[in-house]
């Protein structure tokens, strides 16, 4: 049986999660404004979102339970 999340939505959420994690680090002074991480984190978030959605590590037992009542 195959399981999957929602890759497109996860890509969008991952991109913005990465973007806002980068902004958090900048606004709280953890990294400098010109740090390349601000550019990289949204891309990492996008890729991680797609991969996690394809892997779908959460809620497998619930999904299996629904298909086999």
């Amino acid at each position: 049986m195959k399981y999957r999340g929602r890759p497109v939505l996860a890509a969008i959420c991952g991109f913005f999660s990465g973007l806002f994690v980068g902004l958090d680090l900048v606004f709280f002074g953890a990294i400098q404004l010109d740090n390349i991480a601000v550019t990289i984190l949204p891309i990492v978030g996008l890729i991680a979102g797609v991969l996690l959605a394809l892997w779908a590590p959460l809620g497998r037992a619930r999904a299996a339970g629904k298909s086999n009542p």
């Binding site: 902004l23 400098q32 010109d34």
Partner: protein
């Protein structure tokens, strides 16, 4: 692998990205020029030749002075001050001199400057760098990381949005059955 160890792995990878991307320490003023300033409210003095980080109050006055190692003759000196933003924005110019063809006749200057930054940029560490190029070949370059004291209200808004987005991400990666 439990969800706790999955989360721990995600945070470790994120941390490595941040550490690997950490910028090198900024260089101070070079080229024989001199510059210094005293923040009047805190009484702290900064020498541009040796200072590469300054944490300043959001508003205040700075008594400053600067000099270039050339004779005080009429000449077309050119320079600018820029703030460095992340790729792809790059350097943003916040001030310049001599680019409009105007000539200067002095080799030193001093004064008191009043500044009042908006609270939105509080806490942000920005790399400010500048240079002055003299026709005699003297080139002075300097940079300093400036941080305004306090925390921006945008920081809390950004933190709330981050939590919402991460929760949203966790919903989009939840398994659903596809195929057989």
């Amino acid at each position: 692998m439990t969800w706790v160890s999955k989360c721990a792995c995600s945070f470790l990878v994120s941390g490595l990205v941040v550490v690997a991307a950490a910028a090198p320490a900024a260089a101070a003023l070079t080229g024989g020029c001199s510059a210094s300033g005293t923040q009047l409210q805190t009484g702290k003095s900064y020498n541009a030749v040796t200072t590469n980080f300054a944490k300043i109050p959001r508003a205040g006055d700075v008594k400053w002075q600067g000099a270039v190692p050339v004779p005080a003759t009429k000449r077309p000196a050119v320079g600018e001050v820029q703030v460095k933003f992340p790729f792809p924005v790059g350097d943003v110019e916040i001030g310049h001199w001599g680019k409009d063809g105007k000539q200067t006749g002095s080799n030193a200057n001093r004064g008191t400057y009043h500044y009042d930054f908006p609270s939105l940029i509080a806490g942000v560490k920005a790399l400010v760098h500048g240079r002055d190029k003299e026709p005699s070949g003297v080139l002075c370059q300097g940079s300093v990381v400036v941080q305004v004291e306090g925390t921006s209200p945008l920081a809390w808004a950004s933190l709330v949005l981050t939590v919402i987005l991460v929760l949203n991400l966790s919903l989009t990666i939840r398994a659903r059955k596809v195929g057989k």
